[in-house]
Amino acid sequence: MEFENTIGLETHVQLKTRTKMFCSCLLKTGCEPNTNVCPVCLGYPGALPVMNREAVKLTVMSGLMLGCEINRHATFDRKNYFYPDMAKDYQISENGNPLCLGGGVEITRTDGSKKFIRINHIHLEEDAAKINHYAAHSGVDFNRGGTPLMEIVSEPDLSSADEAIAYLTALKEMLIYAGVSDCNLEEGNMRSDVNISIRPVGETKLGTKVEIKNMNSFKGIHAALEYEARRQRECMAHSIPIVQETRRWDGEALETASMRSKENAHDYRYFPEPDLVPVALSEEQIAEWKALLPEKPELRRARMVEQYGIAEYDAEVLSQQKENADYFEAAAKGLDRKVAKQLCNLYMSDVMALMNATGKSIGECAMRPEALRALVVLAAQGTINGPTLKELLPEIFEKGGDPEAIVKERGLGAVNDASALEAFVDQAIAANPNVVADYKAGKKAAAGFFVGQVMKLSKGKADPKTVGPMIAKKLSAM
């Protein structure tokens, strides 16, 4: 029998706020354990949570980005469980009435086709502390405790590990784009638990769901899903019942193992958090936050293709990082499509190569977008030739400066005067009768030699594109 997977993801994203979710401790990493704490995030008697408005803003912005409906009256709940990583022994979360509902994200499958993955809701909560295990004891570090955490819960619309990764990649791109989170997996900014079940192809009823936790990379998530899909199929093949349970991914052994069954599942005893009033959001407030949103990457791609006449592939590469797309668009300001396309080509090849070679992002280099635009315009106008452009680019990338001024100062302007060029061509031909003979004997490549000679005579200021045809014309007339 053939089976298909049903996969849903619960993705936790640490928000890029200045302070923690319910207290004024700063969000920072790399401090000594338990130094970035206060009575609130340590759950001391009498301490009360105060809602971080910035976290609400970033969650709402994420919701708007993902097409969710924004709840005008979200409420917080207490999720009760005893564990040393939760100072109060309850987590403040949003259970029944979260900030964002619905929405979704379009993914590109490995075969290039598109698929829409629905989102059930996005809620806001506080992160747990970190438990460190040592040889003879364990320690709790509350520095991370209380970090604002947004949980994006997808519908079970995914059907493979590849799709799950495509979904996470799309989410990550959007959230970084919106400036909501760094989504740095190594630093735990983004973590995902998965739910997976299998059912015979054609069956409409969902199979028994298994939740898998403890993956800390996309690779881990992919491997865990592949493993679990295989395990469940083997269970089916051997008539072993699949039980509803939570399983833990072991990244070393590359397998999942049972953590707790449904019977042992926590009863979280949710109830409305009495210490916090509902999050009242006015239409004006939502509109104000909406205005802060950047254009969605997929919309931006389409617009860039349309507006600048660049290739779809180029638009995709440029818009993968907001910084690149922003820079390109700033540089392309006011250019016609033909020149914009030249700008794009230069950016995709030489500028990106410089970024790779120097390890600097476009924001870190010294070249202003206006300078890059000026360079491209100088070349397009024929004021400088291709070789000069390629010579100037790395220098301006490193040190900055105004291309027009540099060209003027150093006299790098191309020689475009036809009579001057013709003089160089005549001079080159007259000085090399044997090469002319070669050309005449059929060695057409000899024309290239003359181009080089003219460049030399003009001290690099002639445009090879103009010189080439002139030489061909002269030689064939001889």
């Binding site: 005893f82 005893r269 009495p274």
Partner: protein, 485 residues
Amino acid sequence: MSELYKLGIKEAAEGLAAGAFSSVELTQAVIDRVHEKDGEIGAYLTFDEEGALAAAEAADEKRLGQGAQSPSLLGIPVAIKDLINVKGQPCTCASKILKGYVSPYDATVIRNLKAAGAVCAGRVNMDEFAMGSSTENSGLGVTHNPYDLSRVPGGSSGGSAAAVGGDLAIAALGTDTGGSIRQPASFCNIVGLKPSYGRVSRYGVTAFASSLDQVGPMTKSVEDAAMLLQVLAGHDEMDGTTPKESVPDYVKALEGASLKGVKLGLPKEYYEVSGVDPEVKRITDEAIKSCEAAGAELVEVSLPHTEYAMAVYYIVAPAEASANLARFDGVRYGHRSERSDDVFNLYARSRAEGFGPEVKRRIIMGTYVLSSGYYDAYYGRASKVRTLIRRDFETAFQKVDALLTPVAPTPAFRIGEVQDPLTMYLNDLFTIPGSLAGNCSISVPAGFAATEGAKLPVGVQFICDAYREEKLLAVGMAFETIVRG
């Protein structure tokens, strides 16, 4: 001079301002009185005498510099219920689970008191985590009623009431969740004010039931209560449930306080309750009559959902408490069982050893009503009925200025007399509905019951709409004037 401990806030403030005595003398008088009497009363758990005298000395110096500009409570000692955090002091909540705990921060009410110059050094007994009506549930000691040492001072703010009622304090802070300020005030012949929910910050006040808890003044007069509330009340950035509502001048609101033309509502459901002590009935009836004689207009009102209040309270409060008290787990502070060999046992044994029976009972009740499958039937339903109770009051306050009711069904009972928890819960019959509604109420001394040969204080309760403390205080003051003759 030796009887300075008898003073209330207003007289003490006047004496200090006039230079009749110093804060050091006043504080020393209270300390001496505590040495003399607290052995038999047992109001205080700890008293940082050195700290108190140092603060008093600093206050005296400050007064020299500031004179008439001195803040209202400068140099006046105020007793603090032992669940309110004062930096550097213990904060046990009268529980063994917090024995040895030293608070790392000041509650907002303490910051306010300190800013107003008050000396916060004595910490008074209470029912463990404010759960109880007699202070017998304290895990750390018994407190006796200063009017009859064989009787309870009420609770849960029994230490506060006994200290003020027995002249072992100038004034005290209490907290009220279902009657914990008002009932002990009635038992100990003092004034106890429960502010509207949100009027006073709860930041730094160890939580029992977060949607009900309020800090309030327990004082020797209504005017003292106004002076103290003035310092306590207001929006706090650290407590999201305190609205940005302006704070009226409560002391000024007392000028010319009178019952003339005041519409006083008598909720009929409160007067139909059986089992009310005949002496309490007599004193309440006399209070009604004297109010009428003073010009108040009596109006019968109905609060039809009163009969459900007790049930609602004993679902909502334990539910919230079960979560609020989870943090006492032995991991970060407080008692940790020596028999904790794994994480589960660390929790289970630390809590089993640290909490007393009433606290355990309420945690179990609260955990039960929130359990999967029971939530809708209990907590969900209770929340809905709570809304109905709130509306009852709102409707009544469209017709009347204030309600007049008994505070508790009986005067102070004997220590050990009430053994059944349900009978104990009935003490708060008249105070719980207002707590659920979130309005403000005050217990004012009304007379003495002749009970078994003893003379036991009995107060009456006035209730006003939320955020109408200035009206409540004026009514209370006018009544107090009548009682004092």
